[in-house]
Amino acid sequence: MTAPVTTQAGQSVAVSKRRWFEFNKPITPASAIWLALSAWVAFFGLWEFAVLMEVTNAVLLPGPVTVLTSFVELFTEKNYLADIGMSLYRVLASFTLACLLAVPLGILMGTFRSVEAFFNPLVSAFRYLPAPSFIPLLLMWLGAGESQKLALLFLGVVWFLITLIMDYAKSLPADYINTALTLGGNRRQVLWTVVVPAMLPNVLIAMRQMLAVSWTYLVIAEIVAADSGIGAMMMRAKRFVHIDEIMAGIVTIGLLGLLFDILLRAAQRLLFPYLETKE
């Protein structure tokens, strides 16, 4: 326990002494920021250092500054914004479609054992089929256009999304439902006034988890066959050995992923202010 700070030299030292490695002790926000920043600085520093030391061919490993300047070039001369817009559209459109199916189905499967028994064997089996293995089929059925890419992204996330939401619905406290039943609620009322509102925050969490996966399939779809999008830009850059632009593409996807995570977290706080705050 912390003793009150006194003027006696020996004791005040014991109180103010801070150690870096303490089990489960919180650190101050300021030191958290400093630690995060120094990790980034170290990362870029090492990268730039490796380039300066000519660890490999400068063409194959451009430094962070080169990558940064290639961003400017991409935006001003190569209409990069259109590529980003296209990729965003693909992710968001396919993800919306996946949610439209997965949210109601997952909730019903987690709530009613009969619905689960009907769909779950199917959904679990599909989950084990890698979405990219459908690419040849999708190319033949849908051609190389937009619908093929949306279908791939859809298949990549929908089964996992259903399962995640089902698991969340199953772990709702049974006594919420029992309370509503003993207050006279019928099945429809319990579904709409207890199960659905109790599930909404979990649905948002599941969406946050799966949106990251959606970006993975986006890159696959755009590398396979596309003339627009971040992945397509990266394939074009490969043809001309513009390593800096490929790296800029990777950074873009990372930043967009981060941005969506932040947005969804903010939505969580705004939409569900009543939630117990964990951590």
Partner: protein, 271 residues
């Protein structure tokens, strides 16, 4: 404070006749959780189910609520057989069940909304019951801002506002610290007394049982069956809503000792 016990004209409200409950367990076996239990709950009485952990108290209460069907025997409320849950039989659960997405007043109003109670009446009953459980200052708060005792008061008010015929409570104060528990017991007994409720309450806390009960059904375990039904003769047909006074009432110590003795017998049977 001494109040009249309104339990004089003994009309039996809820009746259990040879009720048994088996649960299927792993390996195709069946566990007999409740065996051949028969008793009745009299109108306007507080009937406490007391017994060691795992003796089937919650199982009996869930069957009364209609959340669980008996394997044998029957349960009736005012002569009508119980099938499934209904607003006749309100229930307060051991865990916190105030809906976190609703404010205190929305929680209390919730049951009445389900039952399409007209808005004016709804508002009036919300006001009354929120006041009755001393939460008026917190009516716009969400459950996350409330202490455990307050959350249980929300659950109690929500059940009462829905005007059930009988109130079932499964260790409603089980998760609370000793002092809060005390206050809650006194508050509950006050409410029970002036709104003439019929209550079945589960507990394994002996002082709580003695304080609240008009009658105690003592259950033994494995399988759960009735060991003894104790009438609180020492209270001489009154309800004593003050704890110190209860403990000083002649006869209290004796009955507490008798129950402790039964508890110990149960425990030694386990070995």
């Amino acid at each position: 404070m001494i109040a009249d016990n309104p339990q004089q004209k003994s009309h039996s409200k809820l009746l259990l006749e040879q009720v048994s409950k088996e649960y299927p367990i792993s390996g195709g076996d069946r566990l007999l959780a409740v065996s051949d239990v028969s008793f009745d709950v009299i109108e306007n009485e507080v009937c406490v189910l007391l017994g060691p952990s795992g003796c089937g108290k919650s199982t009996i209460l869930h069957m009364m609520a209609g959340l669980n069907d008996p394997t044998a025997g029957r349960l009736t409320l005012d002569g009508r057989e119980i099938h499934g849950p209904s607003r006749d039989r309100g229930m307060v659960f051991q865990g916190y069940t105030s809906f976190p997405w609703l404010t205190v007043e929305q929680n209390v109003e919730y049951g009445m909304r389900l039952n399409k109670v007209p808005p004016a009446e709804r508002r009036q009953r919300v006001d009354f019951f929120i006041d009755r459980v001393n939460l008026t200052r917190f009516r716009k708060a969400y459950p996350k801002q409330l202490s455990g005792g307050m959350k249980q008061r929300v659950a109690i008010a929500r059940m009462l506002a829905n005007a059930p015929e009988i109130s079932l409570m499964d260790e409603p104060f089980g998760a609370l610290d000793a002092e809060t528990r005390w206050h809650m017991q006194e508050l509950l007994l006050d409410i029970i007394d002036d709104s003439q409720m019929t209550v079945v309450m589960v507990t394994h806390d002996i002082p709580e049982a003695l304080f609240l009960a008009d009658r105690i059904v003592f259950l033994s375990s494995h399988p759960g069956r009735i060991k003894e039904i104790l009438t609180m003769d020492f209270k001489q047909g009154r309800r004593i809503t003050n704890k110190e006074e209860l403990i000083e009432t002649p006869g209290y110590i004796e009955i507490e000792r008798e129950i402790l003795h039964m508890m110990r017998e149960e425990a030694s049977d386990e070995e």
